[in-house]
């Protein structure tokens, strides 16, 4: 498999985990990158090096280590900004994960600290999400409507796993539309441009949960049409504990602070404070320093491989997997069965066999790591009338041979339960 120098065997050598064996000599077949990705040496070494030789707190220490740490941390922000095409580095806010980024935005609404009418929220106002969202893009909005009396509405999902997009759901009362760029269960890529155009027509803001898209496709936030974009480091060969909220500068400036503390202030009196400019306004306390630097290394790694090549490789894997899974009797794919507007995440059920049994036997017998359950998207599973699915998700280091191993495993599972 080679696309303009893309060599999956060479890439696998960068990830130490692929050189290990599982107990009983099973090879590792890691098909759970939608859950969390493996890490290359380049990320591990960068973090190790920083911990070992350059570590100190950022943004305040007046010494060499403080300067080196601050430089490395802020340099990571530059790298992330470049990676997603942010017009300004100040538009990149580091959070601890995508969930925190989404919550940060949700807590900006209905907060008396902000007088910007886009962020006022009360009874009669509406928030629009979709039925395919991860719980982290559902629950923060449920909490927000409990606090403010606003109304939560959502797009449905069609039988073939597409967003059932109804422009009429977005009305003059809509304050924000928050949807997944790519579904973590269906693999569906949503029509962001159309949704954003409609939302902006009525003056609503648009937030994207890009946790499943930024790691797998070239993403240009400036061209997407969204106002705010959330994603996380650990799904893009970076460490856990670091996430990103990108927002248009003007929108971030209008938002009230989220967490209060050190680093996010300009001046503090006993009865009031003024706040630092963005992005620091949203980065209270000592940040995940080495994690941010690790994310910078992850971004360098992915850029070195080339996101077009990553996308093309995953597309090949997805086409191969769709064909292979079609041949498994009793397998029902939950999500689009064509390559159009979909990524490398395939969820399915096997007739008469519970996903927990599927996952257990795949792991124990074949070393195939998949995720089983509702994948933090219970409403989506309820929509399809099923309690759980088995999910295989691919990344730049996966091979068609691993998909063959999955299919062999599924046939064996069916034999056990025949």
């Amino acid at each position: 498999m080679t696309y303009d120098g893309f060599d999956v065997e060479k890439i696998r050598k960068d990830f130490p985990v692929f050189s290990r064996e599982l107990p009983d000599g099973r090879p590792l077949v890691y098909l759970d990158s939608g859950n969390s990705s493996q890490k290359p040496n380049q990320v591990i070494e960068t973090m190790r090096d920083h911990f070992a030789l350059h570590y100190s707190n950022v943004g305040r220490a007046m010494h060499v280590l403080g300067a080196e740490s601050t430089d490395a941390y802020e340099n990571a922000r530059d790298k992330v900004a470049g990676f997603i095409g942010a017009p300004s580095r100040d538009e990149v806010v580091f959070t601890k994960n995508a969930s925190e980024a989404l919550n940060l935005v949700a807590y900006s609404f209905g907060n008396p600290a902000s007088t910007d009418p886009r962020f006022t929220l009360g009874p009669g106002d509406e928030i629009v999400i979709s039925e395919m969202e991860h719980h982290s893009n559902i629950v923060p909005w449920q909490l927000l409507v409990q606090r403010t009396g606003a109304t939560l509405k959502w797009f449905g999902v069609t039988g073939d796993g597409r967003l059932d997009y109804d422009p009429g759901l977005i009305t003059e009362r809509t304050k924000i539309v928050s949807i997944a760029h790519q579904s973590n269960v269906l693999g569906t890529v949503n029509p962001v441009a159309a949704v954003a155009a409609r939302a902006h027509e009525v003056g609503a803001l648009v937030l994207l949960d890009a946790s499943q898209s930024v790691p797998h496709h070239p993403v240009d936030v400036a061209g997407l049409g969204a106002d705010l974009v959330a994603f996380t480091g650990h799904k893009m060969v970076g460490p856990s504990g670091i996430g990103v909220l990108w927002g248009r500068a003007e929108v971030l400036e209008a938002m009230p602070p989220f967490l209060g503390g050190g680093e996010m202030i300009e001046a503090v009196w006993m009865d009031r404070s003024t706040y630092a400019p963005i992005p620091h306004k949203f980065e209270a306390g000592t940040p995940p320093i080495v994690e941010a630097i690790g994310l910078g290394a992850a971004v360098d790694y992915l850029t070195g491989v080339g996101m077009e090549a990553v996308e093309a490789h995953e597309r090949t894997l997805t086409a191969y997997a769709l064909d292979a899974l079609r041949e498994v009797p009793g397998l029902r794919l939950i999500g689009p069965d064509t390559l159009e507007e979909r990524g490398g995440t395939l969820s399915f059920t096997l007739e008469g066999i519970h996903p927990h049994d599927v996952g257990q036997i795949l792991d124990d017998q074949f070393g195939v790591a998949v995720r089983v359950g509702h994948h933090c998207a219970r409403p989506l599973h309820l929509r399809f009338g099923i309690p759980a699915t088995t999910r295989a998700s691919f990344y730049l280091y996966n091979t068609t041979g691993e998909i063959d191993a999955l299919v062999r495993g599924l046939h064996h599972v069916q034999k056990v339960f025949a």
Binding site: H356, D357, Q360, D363, P387
Partner: protein, 146 residues
């Protein structure tokens, strides 16, 4: 391999042909238990007669082979036995399941339920095996309270 030891023939047999499945009248207590981590659920009823004799354990639910087979085995073991006897089996089964695979199963007490010994090595699946047994214990306690 490890996995096949968990999926004992007896477990698969009970999963494919569940014994006593379906909710029946009459009953003294009904409980509904769920396993939030995987969504498995069970509704279970008990009917207790004179001298603590278990006249019926009826149930309905959905979940993996381990949770469903455990309910089927429970039905077979409990029906016709007494409250006192079955609660000691529940205790022994719980001890086995929570023993991380290091507890020797007492086959005298457990009967067919000994087939689940392999499950104890998989912490993520222990709750599957215990779901119906905990529901049963709960139902028996409630039936005594009525």
């Amino acid at each position: 391999m490890i996995g096949e030891s968990m999926y004992q023939e007896l477990i698969l047999e009970h999963y494919k042909h569940p014994q006593g499945r379906g909710l029946r009248e009459p009953y003294d207590a009904e409980v509904h238990h769920v396993n939030p981590t995987c969504g498995d659920e069970i509704t279970l009823r008990v009917k207790v007669g004179d001298a603590g004799k278990i006249l019926d354990v009826s149930y309905d639910g959905q979940g993996c082979s381990i949770s469903q087979a455990a309910a089927s085995v429970l039905h077979e073991l409990a029906t016709g036995s007494t409250v006192e006897e079955t609660l000691s089996v529940v205790d022994e089964f719980t001890r086995l399941m929570q023993g991380r695979g290091k507890v020797e199963a007492d086959e005298e007490v457990l009967g067919d339920a000994v087939a689940f010994a392999g499950v104890a090595k998989f912490p993520a699946r222990v709750k599957c095996a215990l779901l119906s047994w905990m529901a049963y214990k709960d139902a028996v306690v409630r039936s005594a309270a009525t």
